[in-house]
C-alpha cells in the first residue's frame, strides 16, 4: 500500500456507532485435536467387584457422539440383579479390606488415581469431548485437570479427617450410591468418588446414560491403580438403574447430581428410611452488573457464565440483570462478543461452544427458544455457522423479558441468556432471589462494600464476585432452597460422607 493511500485510510471518517466487522479477512483454519490414540471399544460391560462383567439381562444401549450423531459404542444396562451385585461387592469391600487398611494408605490410593489421571489427561479429554460434545478446550483445560485436582485434594484428607470435624469422631457411612449427570461426566465422578473414598466409604456409581464412556475408562484406570476390588463399582444404565441404586436396602447414603425434578423424586423415594442423602440440583443463576462494574471483564464473565459447556451448567449465570445506566453498553458489547464465539466440532481446539449433549436436550433447548419468542422476547443469536449434522445451537440472548416469563424462571440448561434491567441494588437483589433456586449468583461492581452487601443478601451457595463459573477442589459448592442439600468440594464436602 502506498504512502498516500495509508493516510487516506487513516482519516477516512466512519459513522459513529457503526458495527464492528468480525467476519475477518483472516480466518482460523480447522485445528483438530488428534483423537486416534484414544481407544474406544465397541462395547463396555459393568465394573463390579474389580472386574468387568456382563449385564445379567444381556442388554446394551448405544451411545452417540452428539456432534456427529454417530454411534460410538454401547454400554451395558444394569438391572436390579446387577445393582444388587454391585452393592454387595461394595459392602464386602467396606467390611473387608477397605476398612482394614489405614487411612494413610487409603489416601495413597487416591493420590495414585490423581497421578494416573494426570498422565492420561489428554486421552480422557478427547473421550469426554467425543462422548459429550463439549469443546476440547474445556475438557482439556477445565474438566480433566480439575478431576485430577479433586482426587489430589481429597487424597490428603484421608488421614486427617478428625481435623475437619472438631469434637466428632468421624466415621464413614458404608456403601454410597452415587448418580451423576451428563454435563461434566468425569468431573462429577471425581466430586463424588474422591471425598467418599477419602472418608472411608465404598461406592456404587452410575454415570449418565449419554456420557458413560469416561467413567468406564476410569474403571480401567482404577484397575491399573490396584485399588481393592469392590471399593469402586460402576454400573451403567438410565433412570431405572438409578432408581435401583437409590432404593436398594443396603445403600447407606445416596449422592445425586442432576435436575431438581429428579432430585425431588429421589428425596421422596428415600422418605421414611434412615438413608442419608446429598443433592446437587438445578439453578437459575443471576448476574448483577452495576454501573461501576469493570464492564469489559463483566462481559467476558457473562460469556463464561452462560456459554461455558453449551450452558449445560447447573450454576450457569442464565439471567443477566444490568443496571439501567449501562444496559445498552453491556448488551452492545455482549452482541459483539457473541460474534467471535466459534460454534462447532468439539474436537477442534478453537471451538468455544460445542454440541448440545443429546437429541433430547437439543429439543428441550429449542422448545425454550420457541417459548421465549412466543412470550414476546426479542431474540438475538450469534451470526455464526453451525455444522449441518449434530446438535448445535447458536449462542442466544433474550432481551425484553420480564420476571414472569418462563425463559426467565425455568432452567433451560442451554446456551440461552435472558437480559433484564434494574435501577437500584435492592431491586436487583430482589429479582435475583425471586426464584425457588439458589445455587449461584454473580455480582459485578468496583465497590468492595457493595460486593459484601449484595453477596450476603443473595440467597445462594456460591457468589461469584467480579468473576463467574470458577471451580476448585478446595471450594465448597452446593445450593440453597431447591438447588440442593449439602455441599461438595472443600472441607465442607467431606461432611457428606461422614456419619453425623
Amino acid at each position: 500500500m502506498s504512502n498516500t493511500e495509508t493516510k487516506e485510510a487513516a482519516y477516512k471518517p466512519t459513522s459513529p456507532n457503526s458495527k464492528l466487522d468480525f467476519a475477518s479477512v483472516w480466518e482460523y483454519a480447522p485445528a483438530p485435536q488428534d483423537s486416534k490414540f484414544a481407544e474406544v471399544k465397541d462395547q463396555y460391560d459393568l465394573f463390579i467387584g474389580g472386574k468387568f462383567v456382563k449385564p445379567s439381562k444381556g442388554r446394551y444401549f448405544k451411545s452417540t457422539n452428539p456432534a456427529t450423531e454417530e454411534v460410538i459404542t454401547e454400554f451395558a444396562e444394569a438391572t436390579q440383579k446387577d445393582v444388587d451385585k454391585a452393592v454387595k461387592s461394595a459392602r464386602k469391600a467396606f467390611e473387608g479390606e477397605w476398612s482394614r487398611i489405614s487411612a494413610k494408605e487409603r489416601g495413597k490410593y487416591l493420590f495414585r488415581i490423581a497421578r494416573m489421571l494426570q498422565e492420561r489427561a489428554r486421552e480422557f479429554a478427547v473421550l469426554e469431548s467425543m462422548d459429550g460434545g463439549k469443546p476440547i478446550r474445556e475438557s482439556r483445560d477445565v474438566d480433566i485437570p480439575l478431576v485430577a485436582a479433586y482426587f489430589f485434594y481429597y487424597a490428603g484428607w484421608a488421614d486427617k479427617l478428625e481435623y475437619a470435624f472438631p469434637g466428632k469422631k468421624p466415621e464413614p457411612y458404608g456403601v454410597c450410591g452415587q448418580i451423576i449427570p451428563w454435563n461434566f461426566p468425569l468431573l462429577m465422578l471425581a466430586w463424588k468418588i474422591a471425598p467418599a473414598l477419602a472418608a472411608g466409604n465404598t461406592v456404587v456409581l452410575k454415570p449418565a446414560e449419554t456420557t458413560s464412556l469416561t467413567a468406564l475408562k476410569f474403571a480401567e484406570l482404577v484397575k491399573d491403580c490396584g485399588l481393592p476390588d469392590g471399593v469402586i463399582n460402576i454400573v451403567t444404565g438410565a433412570g431405572q438403574t438409578g432408581s435401583e441404586i437409590v432404593n436398594h436396602k443396603d445403600i447407606d447414603k445416596v449422592a445425586f447430581t442432576g435436575s431438581t425434578n429428579v432430585g425431588k423424586i429421589i428425596q421422596k423415594s428415600l422418605a421414611g428410611t434412615d438413608k442419608k442423602y446429598t443433592l446437587e440440583l438445578g439453578g437459575k443463576g443471576a448476574m448483577l452488573i452495576f454501573e461501576d462494574a469493570p464492564i469489559d471483564q463483566a462481559v467476558e464473565g457473562i460469556i463464561n457464565a452462560i456459554y461455558f459447556n453449551q450452558g449445560h451448567v447447573c450454576c450457569a449465570g442464565s439471567r443477566l440483570l444490568v443496571q439501567e445506566g449501562v444496559a445498552d453498553k453491556v448488551i452492545q458489547k455482549l452482541k459483539d462478543r457473541l460474534e467471535t464465539l466459534i460454534v462447532g466440532d468439539p474436537l477442534d481446539k478453537n471451538t468455544d461452544v460445542g454440541a448440545i449433549n443429546s437429541k433430547e436436550q437439543f429439543e428441550t433447548v429449542n422448545k425454550y427458544l420457541e417459548i421465549g419468542v412466543n412470550e414476546g422476547a426479542e431474540v438475538y443469536q450469534a451470526n455464526c455457522d453451525v455444522p449441518e449434522n449434530g446438535y448445535f445451537i447458536r449462542p442466544t440472548l433474550f432481551t425484553n423479558v420480564s420476571q414472569s416469563n418462563r425463559v426467565v424462571q425455568e432452567e433451560i440448561f442451554g446456551p440461552v441468556l435472558t437480559v433484564q434491567t434494574f435501577r437500584t441494588a435492592d431491586e436487583g437483589i430482589e429479582k435475583a432471589n425471586n426464584t425457588p433456586y439458589g445455587l449461584a449468583n454473580g455480582v459485578w461492581t468496583d465497590k468492595g462494600s457493595k460486593i459484601f452487601k449484595v453477596g450476603s443478601q443473595m440467597r445462594s451457595g456460591v457468589i461469584w464476585a467480579n468473576t463467574y463459573n470458577k471451580f476448585d477442589p478446595t471450594s465448597p459448592f452446593g445450593g440453597y432452597k431447591e438447588s440442593g442439600v449439602g455441599r461438595e468440594g472443600g472441607m465442607h464436602g467431606l461432611a457428606a460422607y461422614i456419619k453425623n
Binding site: 469434637g167 421422596k268 422418605a271
Partner: protein
C-alpha cells in the same frame, strides 16, 4: 372469717409474631395434669394458624439474620436471665405434670444453661466452621455459614421445657426464625416460655409457638413451600416420618432428625445442632490491582 379467695387462672394462648392470639379456629383441647385433672384449655392450632406463623417468621427472618452475632448472643443470654427470673412459674407448671421438685429444678437449670451455651456459640460457630479456601487461581475464596431460613419444628414430646429450649436455641442462635409445635401432652410450659421470650429482647416473629396435634399439623408443617427446614427429635411413628420426608421433597426441605433420648445429657448440645440449620455460602473474588 375471710372468704376463700378464688385464684385467677391463666388463659394459655399461642405465641405468633410477638402476640398471644387464640387459634383462629376457636378450638381448644384439654391440658391435663398427671392425675388427669384439667390444668388449662390449650389452643388447638390449625393449618391457618401455622400459615400465619410462617408468614410472620418469614417476615422476621431478614431482620433477625442480619443482627450481629454478638447481638444474637446477648439476646440468647437475656432469655436465660428471664428464665432464671421466672423459675417459680416453671416450678409451678412442671410439678403437676409429673416433675418432682428436684427434677423440675434440674430441668429449669439445664434449660437456662442451654440458652447460655448457645448464646456463647453465636459468634463462634462461624469461626470454627467457616473457611478460607486456598484455590489455585488468583481469587480470594471464603466459605461462611448463613441461616437456612424459616424452620418448622416439633418440640420434644416428653421434655416440655428443656427439650423445647434445646431445639429453639440452636435454631435462632444461627439466625433462623422458627415455628415450633409445643409438646402435645404438656403444652403449657411452652406458652410460659413464650412469655419469657416476649419479655426478653427476641424480636416478635423470630420464635412462634403453636400448641396442637402433630397428627393434624405434620402434613401442613411439611408441605408448606416457604418453610426451608423441618426438625424433629422424637422417634415419630413410621407413617408420620414418611409423610414428612415425602412432603419435604416438594421444595427440597432440609429434614433435621435428631433422635434424643435424654435432654440432660450434655452430648445433645453441640455446635453441629447450629450448623444443621445453616447453609454454606462460598464467595469468590479476584485478587489484583
Amino acid at each position: 372469717m375471710a372468704e376463700e379467695r378464688i385464684d385467677v387462672k391463666k388463659t394459655y394462648k399461642m405465641y405468633i409474631g410477638g402476640d398471644f392470639p387464640r387459634s383462629e379456629s376457636g378450638r381448644t383441647y384439654k391440658a391435663l395434669d398427671s392425675d388427669g385433672n384439667l390444668l388449662a384449655n390449650a389452643c388447638q392450632g390449625s393449618r391457618k394458624d401455622f400459615r400465619d406463623a410462617v408468614k410472620i417468621a418469614r417476615g422476621a427472618f431478614g431482620g433477625w439474620s442480619s443482627r450481629s452475632a454478638y447481638n444474637r448472643g446477648q439476646i440468647l443470654y437475656r432469655i436465660a436471665e428471664m428464665l432464671e427470673d421466672r423459675r417459680d412459674q416453671f416450678m409451678k407448671e412442671l410439678g403437676p405434670i409429673g416433675f418432682k421438685t428436684a427434677e423440675a429444678e434440674a430441668d429449669i437449670n439445664a434449660a437456662i444453661d442451654r440458652c447460655i451455651y448457645y448464646a456463647g456459640w453465636t459468634d463462634k460457630y462461624q469461626q470454627v466452621f467457616g473457611s478460607i479456601n486456598p484455590v489455585a487461581s488468583s481469587h480470594f475464596n471464603f466459605s461462611m455459614l448463613e441461616p437456612t431460613g424459616v424452620v418448622a419444628a416439633f418440640a420434644p414430646e416428653k421434655s416440655p421445657l428443656l427439650g423445647l429450649v434445646s431445639v429453639i436455641a440452636p435454631i435462632i442462635a444461627g439466625g433462623n426464625t422458627c415455628v415450633v409445635l409445643a409438646s402435645e401432652k404438656y403444652p403449657l410450659p411452652a406458652i410460659s416460655f413464650a412469655e419469657v421470650l416476649n419479655s426478653s429482647d427476641v424480636p416478635g416473629g423470630v420464635v412462634n409457638i403453636l400448641t396442637g396435634f402433630r397428627e393434624e399439623l405434620a402434613e401442613h408443617f411439611s408441605t408448606h413451600m416457604d418453610v426451608n427446614a423441618m426438625c424433629y427429635t422424637d422417634n415419630l411413628p413410621q407413617e408420620m416420618k414418611k409423610l414428612i420426608d415425602e412432603n419435604a421433597s416438594l421444595n427440597v426441605k432440609r429434614i433435621v432428625k435428631h433422635p434424643v433420648e435424654d435432654w440432660y445429657d450434655e452430648e445433645v448440645q453441640s455446635p453441629y445442632f447450629v450448623t444443621d440449620f445453616q447453609e454454606t455460602k462460598t464467595t469468590w473474588h479476584p485478587v489484583g490491582f
